[in-house]
């Protein structure tokens, strides 16, 4: 685990040695702020739980996009520049490489997400919203971010270039986000399974409303674990090529 943290620390610092980290954090905050103003009008009468719910719904989009953008480079860039070989020829488990990379990207995403807390805090001061809804909403955002980060890590593990990684991750993300639409057009019981697998719709809505359902938490944890596990297997398989 200490090796994973070593990799995570190097990767996290690397985000902020280049433009990628600051620009992405700033971009997420800008998008969050613009969407907050646009949809809410900030009328005193409207500062309620519904506004907060709308805030979490809006914020989920920049969070998902940022997760994919942050992860594109993780393994694909190392493969492209030949630095992955340093990790592969060191006594490091593939699991530690994947966890380290995931943690670094996720830490940047958590930073960007939590920096938006001034908006719910403003609602809390000037309107009528429950702290519980804020906490649960952020928990949902972070779990959603973890799931999308895991998809991105998997896409980056599969690809040999960053362009391919970006396309793969974006396609997988769109598929899992839009599964609820496919579910809508499907017959039972298939629609229930598809709806349950959708990474945003049914699974995220309760968090927006401040409802903490264990099934939602378990879904995101299992989803994240499954994609990270698949990423480890991809790295292992490459050595047998």
């Amino acid at each position: 685990m200490s090796t994973a943290l070593l990799i995570a620390r190097r990767e996290f610092n690397s985000y902020f040695r280049s433009w990628l980290g600051p620009v992405l954090v700033a971009g997420v905050l800008l998008a969050d702020g613009l969407l907050f103003n646009w949809f809410n009008g900030l009328d005193q009468k409207q500062l309620s739980g519904a506004v907060l719910q709308q805030f979490f719904y809006n914020t989920s989009a920049p969070t998902m996009v940022a997760a994919i953008l942050l992860t594109i480079r993780l393994l694909a860039e190392e493969r492209q520049t030949g630095t992955l070989i340093l990790l592969n020829t060191s006594p490091v488990k593939d699991r530690d490489i994947v966890i380290g990379k995931f943690l670094a990207a996720y830490a940047v995403l958590v930073l960007a997400t939590l920096l938006s807390v001034y908006m719910p805090a403003w609602l809390f001061v000037h309107g009528k919203v429950a702290v519980g809804q804020i906490v649960v909403g952020y928990l949902g955002l972070l779990l959603l971010g973890a799931a999308l980060t895991a998809i991105g890590v998997f896409g980056s593990a599969l690809a040999t270039s960053q362009v391919v990684a970006a396309i793969l991750s974006a396609v997988m993300a769109v598929v899992f986000v839009l599964l609820w639409m496919v579910a809508k057009a499907s017959e039972p019981p298939l629609n229930q399974y598809l709806s349950a697998l959708a990474v945003h719709h049914e699974n995220f809505r309760p968090f927006m409303q401040g409802i903490l359902q264990p099934s939602g938490v378990i879904f995101y944890v299992v989803f994240t674990y499954a994609f990270l596990f698949a990423s480890v297997k991809v790295l292992e398989a490459r050595r047998w090529q």
Partner: protein, 354 residues
């Protein structure tokens, strides 16, 4: 230090390495010599545990690369053909990361990094960002990362590639300095790049070790059967007559197996050139025979340098013969080059003499 038994590596249906069996002793500097695609990099990647063998056994310091890869990795330092450098880090930060990732305890990291920096003479640039360094310095940083954890075995894939003449000399010294504390295996496709550095050279072709021995043994082996170019002057003769006279004399010299007319770089009355094929170094015998027969020898020497003879040898011995050589021969309509006729001496035994 290294025991390789019946190693095979396939990429799909294509055999990259195998059958490969060899032993490398502790403290040796071994040069793996072969053309591009001969299997050098694949062999080195297997030694460094970056690739798994398809079959066979590879042991480093008695530890199997398949059974206990992490234990092997801790004993090996690897520099791939493109140094694995994080360009956003400074040299010091990068070497610290490389040491820590290879399991060096944090208390010892600073000391080992300082030693690697000193050995590779990177002190002047240790605080510089790697992305701003020249190719020569990057290569040094690549070697520093391979030795920073004090490995028993250092594997260097084409460490001299792309360096300028001054850097090549410096790199040779650096590799020589690794001797003693480390066993070193390095690869190259250019003989002269490694001949001065290595204790022993292994010629690899089509995934097999064709030959193994010291540089002087290799030199003797390659020169067996090389062609000798002779330019003569026969007073009052035409070029054809001069060639015919020289050929007649040369054919009588013991050891000569064939003589062909050749194009002469010089022109003038009575000047002609021939190309003589034979076993061993026949230069002095040919010169003596021609002069005794009153034929003036203007120029005499091997047609090829050691380097090109080596390439000819590899081009003709195995399945991996490069296409460009076959094409050239067809175009010229010549017989196979002489280097191909003399099979390399069978010296697969360790340190065996040619």
């Amino acid at each position: 230090m290294i025991e390789i038994q019946e190693l095979y590596k396939y990429y799909g249906d294509q055999r990259a390495v195998g059958p490969l069996t060899t032993t490398i002793e502790r403290g040796e500097i071994i040069g793996l010599l072969g053309l591009n695609g001969a299997g050098k990099t694949t062999t080195l990647r297997i030694l460094a545990c970056d690739l798994l063998p398809t079959s066979g056994s590879v042991k480093v310091a008695g530890v199997d690369v398949v059974d206990r890869p992490d234990d092997v990795k801790a004993k090996v330092g690897y520099l791939p053909d493109r140094p694995p450098l994080y360009e956003d880090l400074s040299v010091g930060e990068y070497l610290t990361f490389a040491a820590r990732i290879r399991g060096v305890p944090s208390a010892q990291t600073a000391k080992l990094v300082a030693e690697a920096v000193e050995l590779t003479e990177l002190g002047d640039v240790s605080k510089k960002i790697i992305g701003a360094l020249s190719h020569g310095y990057r290569q040094r940083v690549g070697i520093a990362q391979a030795i920073v954890h004090a490995p028993e075995l250092v594997v260097l894939d084409e460490p001299i590639s792309g360096l300028d003449p001054v850097q090549i000399v410096e790199m040779r010294e650096l590799v020589k300095n690794l001797k003693g504390e480390h066993t070193v295996v390095l690869s190259s496709h250019i003989l002269s790049e490694i001949s001065e550095t290595c204790d022993r050279i292994m010629v690899i072709n089509a995934g097999k070790i064709e030959w193994s021995g010291t540089e002087s043994e290799l030199s003797v082996a390659l020169r067996q059967g090389s062609r000798i170019a002779i330019t003569v002057r026969v007073a009052g003769a035409t070029e054809e007559a001069a060639q015919a006279r020289a050929s007649e004399i040369a054919q009588r010299v013991p050891g000569v197996s064939g003589v062909d007319p050749a194009h002469s770089n010089e022109s003038g009355p009575g000047i002609g050139s021939i190309s003589v094929r034979g076993e061993g170094d026949l230069r002095d015998a040919l010169c003596r025979a021609l002069v005794q027969a009153d034929v003036g020898v203007i120029a005499l020497g091997r047609e090829q340098e050691l380097e090109s003879m080596f390439l000819e040898l590899l081009g003709e011995t195995g399945e991996g013969a490069p296409v460009r050589r076959k094409k050239k021969r067809r175009k010229d309509g010549e017989a196979p080059p002489p280097g191909a006729q003399a099979a390399p001496p069978a010296a697969p035994t360790e340190g065996g003499a040619a």
